[in-house]
């Protein structure tokens, strides 16, 4: 039985903002499942329904066989959740933060302290455990935030953009850690807007855009689905729409073309065994009198998959958490 089963999930905000517009998927025990999509695609809304923080407008969602709307506390007991924005208490120490989460998950103080010590070791915060989290660096806070979701040893972990805002080095370290958690049997559902992250970490992913799943499968399956390599013809930046349309027509005319897609001032043609097709592409462009600025051959990437299914490139936007002051103290964001 899948650990997460979502059927026709709908979440409407206000009157007509359909943040999630009928989404169905399953997450199997033991896998790392990813939601890939841009900001506003419905990733966070879906995850917040699954972790019992949002009531869905329609559809059903089961976590470990339990309906998230009818028995939320039973769901909460089984899952760990790290939100997109870090929720770390500046006034408590790292150790106190983890023990508090353990206690709130019904652990005895002794068990919570033991597990907190273990986790602090793993996330390399043992030396800082007695210091207030307000003195931590961004990477340390991110690690502590993640550890908060792990104190009660959940078998299922929900991570909303776990590496957003991390530098590449910290990002890789976190991937490494998530992989080791997964190898220990923790099922992970994560959302991301990073293609590399989806490629490096997930076993299966769903591409979500405008509240809908537009494609689903293993990264390999999805890449295979776009039908081979991409040859991308990029025109000059001031190319007219007509010129782009002309190039599109020329590329569509090629016998080998599986698919042709235009974006910005580029046109990509998908072909099997791209290397051997370059010559014919160049010849066709030459005959049509097109003078491209650049010609690129690329193996299929998730970038291409995303483009193929949504008609747009995935743009990474980082939403900054608003800075706030409370009682005259500027708080870290």
């Amino acid at each position: 039985m899948p650990l997460v089963e979502v059927h026709d999930l709908v979440k409407v905000y206000g009157k007509d903002v359909r943040a999630v517009d009928g989404v169905s998927f399953e997450v199997n025990a033991g896998e790392v499942f990813g939601f890939l999509g841009p900001n506003g695609a419905g990733k966070t809304t879906t995850i917040r329904v699954l972790v019992t923080r949002l009531e869905p407008t329609g559809g059903t969602a089961f976590v470990d066989g339990i309906d998230v709307t009818s028995d939320p506390n039973e769901v909460r007991r089984r899952i760990g959740y790290a939100a997109q924005f870090i929720g770390v208490d500046d006034d408590l120490t790292g150790g106190e933060t983890l023990v508090l989460q353990g206690r709130l998950h019904g652990m005895s103080t002794k068990a919570a302290v033991a597990q907190a010590d273990l986790l602090l070791e793993v996330i390399d915060l043992t030396d800082a455990a007695g210091r207030r989290a307000g003195t931590y660096s961004g990477g340390m806070r991110r690690r502590l935030d993640l550890a908060q979701a792990l104190v009660h040893k959940p078998r299922l972990l929900f991570l909303d953009e776990p590496t957003t805002g991390l530098d590449p080095q910290n990002r890789r370290a976190l991937w490494e850690y998530l992989r080791s958690l997964n190898e220990d049997g923790v099922t992970i559902f994560l959302t991301t807007q990073y293609l590399e992250e989806a490629d490096a970490l997930v076993h299966r992913l769903a591409i979500i855009d405008h509240g809908l799943i537009v494609a689903e499968g293993t990264p390999g399956e999805l890449k295979a689905g776009i039908g081979g390599d991409a040859i991308t013809v990029t025109l000059h930046a001031d190319a007219s729409l007509q010129e782009i349309a002309d190039v599109e027509a020329v590329l569509r005319g090629l016998d080998a073309a599986h698919d042709v897609r235009a974006f910005d001032h580029s046109v990509a043609v998908y072909v099997t065994d791209g290397g051997s097709r370059i010559a014919s592409v160049v010849r066709a462009l030459d005959e049509a009198g097109v003078n491209p600025a650049r010609l690129e051959l690329s193996e299929p990437t998730l970038d291409e998959v995303f483009l193929q299914h949504t008609g747009e490139r995935l743009r990474v936007e980082e939403v900054k958490q608003q800075r706030r002051t409370a009682m005259g103290r500027r708080r870290r964001s």
């Binding site: 909460r76 899952i79 770390v88 408590l92 608003q322």
Partner: protein, 255 residues
């Protein structure tokens, strides 16, 4: 049972934060202490008026200052709630398998214990200034409990405003705006016989009047149980209304 354990866990966390960042603790004490020193000097001669039944204006004023402390401190309650929401910490409590009510209970309990400490500090200072307590140590304990209970009820109002506005600054401004009329439309700073008739009637409808009068009788007159019971009744009624409202506002804000 587990709901109580969770409430105490959160009480401990909230109290730890107060100790770590004592701004709130002292911020709430600043104005009462200022009033204590200023009013006891400025209005001291009121005690010379015929009909003034207390030994000194200070004996009359100290109970009001204790009540003001409870009032001020209670109003920081909602601000803490909003701050927890803004910092993403409320989210951490809400994804834990705990009863939603224990989050509010942990907050209100922490307000109560903080007010006890603050009331004790004010009473200590008043003793140094020469205030005498007719009911002795036991009376002081009852005064502190009354102030804390009133503060817990009042914290409900603070949370209602905080949860409805979702804004710490608005909560603070509304708090300050309400505190002044509440205080001056009571017998806190003027004995009832010096108030105009209409104001005397308004004061009778003001819950703070009952708290102040109960503390006053414990400070000056000894054990007059009817005064204490009346205050308790008012606190219970106020608490029932405010805390029910706060719980409803909380459920709405976090759903």
């Amino acid at each position: 049972m587990t709901a109580l354990v969770d409430s105490l866990t959160l009480w401990r966390r909230n109290t730890l934060k107060t100790i770590r960042v004592p701004t709130v603790l002292f911020f709430a004490l600043f104005q009462p202490l200022l009033f204590l020193f200023l009013f006891s000097q400025v209005f001291g001669s009121l005690a010379n008026l015929p009909g003034f039944q207390y030994d000194s204006y200070l004996q009359f004023l100290v109970p009001s200052i204790v009540a003001l402390t409870a009032l001020n401190s209670a109003f920081s309650s909602g601000m803490s709630t909003v701050t927890d929401m803004e910092d993403g910490l409320m989210d951490k409590f809400l994804i834990a398998p705990i009863h939603r009510l224990s989050i509010m209970a942990g907050r209100i309990f922490a307000d109560g214990s903080r007010i006890m400490v603050q009331a004790l500090l004010i009473i200590g200072i008043s003793l140094l200034m020469g205030t005498t307590y007719a009911t002795g140590v036991l009376g002081i304990v009852v005064i502190i409990l009354l102030a804390a209970l009133f503060g817990m009820a009042w914290a409900g109002l603070s949370n209602i405003i905080a949860l409805r506005t979702g804004n710490a600054e608005a909560t603070m401004i509304v708090g300050i705006t309400i505190t002044f009329p509440i205080l001056f439309l009571s017998t806190a700073f003027m004995p009832a016989f010096l108030l105009p008739a209409w104001l005397e009637n308004v004061a009778k409808l003001n819950p703070i009047t009952y708290l102040v009068e109960a503390i006053r009788s414990l400070v000056n007159d000894g054990w007059i149980w009817s005064d204490v019971m009346q205050a308790l009744l008012v606190i219970l009624l106020l608490g029932a209304i405010m805390l029910t409202g706060a719980v409803r506002a909380f459920r709405k804000a976090v759903s």
